[in-house]
Symmetry: C2
Subunit: 239 residues, 2 copies
Amino acid sequence: MSATSANVSERRVQPPSLAISTVIFALRPSESSGRPTLWLPLVRRIRQPYLGQWALPGGPLAHSESLQDAASRNLLETTGLAPRYLEQLYAFGGLDRSAGQRLVSIVYWALVQPDEAALTRESENVRWFRADRLESLAFDHNEIVKYALWRLRNKMEYGSIAYHLLGERFTLAQVREVYEAVLDKELDPANFRRQLRSTPHIEPTDEHLTGTRHRPPRLYRYAGPVPDGSVRQPLPASP
Amino acid sequence: MSATSANVSERRVQPPSLAISTVIFALRPSESSGRPTLWLPLVRRIRQPYLGQWALPGGPLAHSESLQDAASRNLLETTGLAPRYLEQLYAFGGLDRSAGQRLVSIVYWALVQPDEAALTRESENVRWFRADRLESLAFDHNEIVKYALWRLRNKMEYGSIAYHLLGERFTLAQVREVYEAVLDKELDPANFRRQLRSTPHIEPTDEHLTGTRHRPPRLYRYAGPVPDGSVRQPLPASP
C-alpha cells in the first residue's frame, strides 16, 4: 500500500472533527447615525484553512470539559468575554463546511450587555463588526450569523430576551432602540411606549437617567422570568 | 514507551466520538384506558456499553451524510420509520455520558402520525414504550427524553405542532386528546372546543368521521404555517 492510499483510507475512517463556536451579539452605536445597532466580535484566522479571514470565536472541544464550558473558555481566551447569558444555538454539520475536511460545529450564542462588551480585548486579530454588514467570513460562518439573527428576531416576540442586551436599569426609549436594532426597522415611540407599559415584568424604579437633560427619563427594570437556556429550561445536569 | 501508556495517550488525543440519536413521539392507545398517550420506539443495545438495555435509535455519523440525513438513515435502519417532521433537538456532550468514553450526541426529534407509526417493524430488539413510563435507559437517554417532552409541551402553546401527531383530517375531540396526552392532564371538552374554534388555521371540511355513530363528528384540517424545523426556518442550505 502506498503512502497516498494509506492517507486516503485513514482520512475516510477518521471521525468527523468537532468544534465549538460562539456568536456574541451586543449593541454598539452605529458609526454613521450613532443609534444602537447589533455588533459581534470576530477573530482573524491565523492558520489554514481560511488563513487571514475573519471567523466566529471558537476552537476544539477539550476532553475534560462540557460543551458549554468549552464555549465559555474559547470565548474568554479569544475575546476576553464571559457573558452572563450563553445558550446552545444549533449544531452545523454539512458536508463541505471546511475545505474538504468533515467538521461539525456546535454553536453557542450569547447576548452581552454594553458593560460586558466594553471589556473585549480588541487587537489586530480580534474586532467587533456590524452584524448587518459582514464581509465574507471563514467556513459557513455568514450562514451561521444569519441563522442566529433569525433566532434572535423570533425570540424578541417573547419579550425577556431584549433585556440581555441592556443593563440592569434602562429607559423605555432604550428598549425601543433594542427592538429597532434587532428588527432593523423604526418603531413609533408613542405606540411602543404604550405597549411596553402594558407588558408584565417591566417595573418602574425610583431612579432617573442621569445627564444634563431638563426632564431626565425614568429608569425601569426587568423583573420577569429568564428565557430558555438559562434557568427555566430543565436541562439534564450531566450534559 | 509501553503499550499501555501508548494506549492512554492515544485515548487522550482522540477526538470525542460523535453520534446521532432520535426521539420519535407518536400517539398510541393506553394499554389500560385506551386513550391516546405518547409513545416512542426504542432499540435494544446489542453491544457494550449498556449491552441489553433499551436506547434511543441512533448510530455514528457517516462521512458522506449531513446530520439530518444521518438521523433519517439511522431511524429508517433501526425502526423502519421515515417521519415527515424531523428537527434538531439539542447536542448533548456532558463528560460522563458513555461509560468513560467521551461521546457527543446530536439529537433529532420527530413527531409521527399514527399511520407512520403503524409501519414500524417491531421485533425482539425494537419496541414502542410509553413515554411517561420508561425504565432505566442506556446512556443519559432518560434525560434526553425528559428534555424532548419538555420541549414538546412548550411547543404546544404555539398550536401547529399538535397536528403532526394527527392525520390530515381530524375531529376536534382528537385534537383535545393530543393536548391531554402531551400535557398529561384532562381538559374540559366544551371549553377546549370553544378555544379551538377561535384558533386560526383550523378549518372545517365537508367530511365526517366514518363509523357507526348516530351523529358522526365533523372532520377538520390544519391549514396554517408549519413550525420551526420544516419550512419557516431559514436554515443554511449546506448544513
